[in-house]
């Protein structure tokens, strides 16, 4: 049993087997491309179609109603291969295809199966661009070494470019050079085609007027045809321009994406209310998940974000070079994208779950009251120098100031706030927060934080950072120090405190490096009457959850 199609050739209806139809269709396509640049190609093709219809009809009898593939093959061998036409009639002497100089017709991008190393993409491109294949291969190799992008572009082209299998296609592959003048040429061809149609139309119109036995249909059809041709010219130009724009955008995005995923070239900025500066790689290792999990998440992200980009580039190529659509590409891409989406969502929820519960641990630190009325705050410079010396990377956000050392250890900055004491004594409180899957896990994490300070008479020396440990140990740990200063007493802040003084409450630039007196209304410059700002006590609990929530949202947002 065979599937049969009904087709119309030159106004005659034929029933034709599917395989026979494919064969016939392919033959007509080679004719079309052969005569592409010949004057009157439409007429030639329709004449040939007429003859084919005639020949096919001779092969139909009452007993045999359907055109078979044998019939089609017979007819095709009668009509002959387009290359033979030239050797029998017009064309110049038949040149070997290698010379390729007399090849007419538009050049098309094909993979070259005769000179291939991998898929024939490079040699096809070289033929298309009329350059030595060596340079194309080198370019692919170099880009592959640097960014892997060479391999990716190669893959897309492999999928997008058809292989030159027939001889006509191989000739087309080598056709003419592609440069601006040829693009111009192809457009002028389109325009002259248009002119022909218009002059045909005027002739037709004259005849109609003369004879008065008008064939209105035909006129309207031709007017329509002219408009369609105009539209085609414009579309062709627009499609090429859009294609180039898309291609550039796509390549830019792919590079940006690769930088982000693999952490090349430093931090990226994501503006999600606040700007976050961080390389993705460090961010991934920060999250509480196994290396395998991180690898799978990365793969998910590559699919989820990369597939649309690859499709963008693929379609841009198709637009610029007028490549045919390859079947199943769209559906395959969609499937991969959905897989990427599922992986990404899965990990996003898993990560979010590990940050669900917050916990806060407050602890009053023992300090000696200063001998006079001033307490000095400074940071442990040795610690800071050591850390900066070893630092490899920084992860910075609104509430995150993480330093990554060369050994792969993570340190988070502490925060210092100054309050009015309710008693006559100075006091120092440490408020530690962390998040976890359960409140107990969060509390354990918060309690496990080690952080040191020292006191030397009136001077309190703070470690500006505390370790959050190995990669994957991050649970949004945070330390806030509350220094309580009694009314009428002084606090002197070293310039090195600038980085860790709490943002927003006081301007740290002004606070650091100066001495202040605590009044009923807040800190004041002893020499001036102006107040920095009223000291307001805040609920530590609410402040910490206010601080953490955006981080978790950011994580989810990032993965998004």
């Amino acid at each position: 049993m065979k599937k049969t199609l009904t087709i119309n050739i030159s106004g005659i209806i034929f029933h034709i087997d599917e395989d026979a139809f494919d064969k016939l269709n392919a033959y007509l396509d080679t004719l079309k491309s052969h005569f592409y640049n010949t004057q009157g190609k439409d007429e030639i093709i329709s004449d040939i179609e007429g003859r084919i219809a005639e020949l096919l009809q001779e092969r139909i009898t009452d007993a045999k109603q359907v055109i078979s593939i044998d019939d089609v093959e017979e007819v095709i061998s009668l009509m002959g291969d387009p290359v033979q036409f030239d050797s029998e009639a017009e064309g110049e002497e038949e040149a070997p295809p290698a010379a390729g100089d007399d090849v007419r017709g538009p050049k098309r991008l094909y993979r070259d199966p005769d000179h291939k190393v991998v898929g024939g993409v490079a040699s096809g491109l070289a033929a298309y661009l009329n350059i030595d294949v060596l340079w194309v291969r080198l370019a692919f190799a170099v880009f592959t070494i640097i960014w892997l992008s060479g391999a990716m572009v190669y893959l897309i082209l492999w999928i997008a470019m058809p292989e030159a299998s027939s001889r006509a296609e191989k000739l087309q592959m080598k056709g003419e050079k592609v440069n601006i003048s040829n693009i111009e040429k192809s457009i002028t061809e389109e325009v002259s085609h248009l002119k022909d149609k218009i002059s045909d139309l005027t002739k037709q119109a004259k005849k109609t007027v003369e004879k008065k036995n008008s064939r209105d249909e035909n006129i309207f059809e031709q007017i329509l045809g002219v408009f369609l041709s105009i539209l085609k010219v414009f579309l062709k130009i627009i499609v090429i321009i859009v294609g180039i724009a898309l291609l550039l955008a796509g390549i830019g995005l792919v590079l940006a994406f690769l930088f982000a995923i693999f952490g090349w070239g430093g931090p990226i900025i994501l503006d999600n209310n606040e700007a976050i500066l961080m390389p993705f790689t460090d961010f991934f290792s920060l999250l509480p998940m196994s290396t395998g999990g991180a690898a799978i998440l990365k793969m998910g992200l590559i699919l989820f974000l990369g597939i649309p980009l690859l499709m963008l580039i693929y379609n841009a190529f198709r637009m610029i070079f007028g490549l045919e659509r390859v079947r199943y590409i769209g559906i395959t891409a969609l499937n991969l994208w959905v897989i990427g989406l599922i992986i990404t969502l899965f990990f996003a929820f898993r990560v979010a779950r590990d940050f669900r519960q917050p916990a806060t641990v407050s602890k009053a630190l023992e300090i000696h009251q200063p001998l006079n009325d001033t307490i000095y705050l400074t940071v442990n410079e040795d610690f800071l120098d050591e850390l900066h010396y070893n630092s490899y990377d920084y992860i910075q956000g609104d509430d995150i100031h993480i330093v990554v050392t060369e050994e792969g250890l993570y340190y988070e900055q502490i925060e210092v706030d100054i309050y009015k004491s309710k008693t006559a004594d100075y006091a120092l409180n440490r408020i530690t927060t962390a998040r976890g899957r359960t409140i107990r896990a969060a509390r354990e994490k918060a309690e496990s934080i080690t952080w040191n300070f020292g006191q030397n008479e009136n001077m309190i020396v703070l470690d500006p950072y505390f370790p959050i440990g190995e990669p994957g140990g991050w649970q949004a740990q945070h330390i806030r120090l509350k220094l309580e200063v009694p009314v009428g007493k002084y606090v002197s802040l070293d310039e090195s405190m600038e980085d860790i003084l709490h943002w927003g409450r006081y301007s740290p630039y002004k606070l650091a490096g100066n001495t202040w007196i605590m009044t009923e209304n807040g800190l004041r410059d002893p020499d001036e009457e102006s107040f920095i700002s009223p000291t307001i006590f805040r609920e530590t609990q609410s402040s910490s959850s206010n601080m953490i929530r955006p981080i978790v949202m950011k994580i989810v947002g990032l993965v998004w």
Binding site: S10, G40, R51, L78, E93
Partner: protein, 111 residues
């Protein structure tokens, strides 16, 4: 291989002359012309004819009219134009001269 090429070259040159002659004798459509050309072994594949006919028509040597056919698609009957007739005469003279010239050389050798 080269011999075939030379033969093909020889046929090529006279193809237009023959087509014009066939049409000049009697208005003809593609299949008529093909039949005669194939009989004379001037062409091998039929596809060769169509670009030629179209070119001759575009150059003003031929004209055509449509005729319905009982058994198939409508037929394009080619007719000679005045230019076509002039060209044919010219080609004919040329051909006769060529035949004489060639004969002069080749027949001598043969005899």
């Amino acid at each position: 291989m080269n011999l075939e090429k030379t033969k093909a070259q020889m046929r090529k040159g006279v193809l237009e002359l023959c087509i014009l002659s066939i049409i000049a004798e009697k208005d003809a459509y593609a299949s008529d012309i093909l039949e005669k050309l194939k009989e004379a072994k001037l062409i091998v594949v039929e596809g060769t004819l169509y670009p030629l006919l179209t070119r001759l028509k575009n150059e003003g040597m031929l004209n055509y009219r449509w005729e319905e056919s009982k058994s198939g698609p409508p037929r394009k009957y080619y007719t000679m134009t005045e230019i076509g007739i002039k060209v044919l005469n010219d080609l004919n003279v040329n051909w006769q001269d060529l035949v004489k010239a060639v004969n002069k050389i080749t027949l001598k050798k043969a005899s």
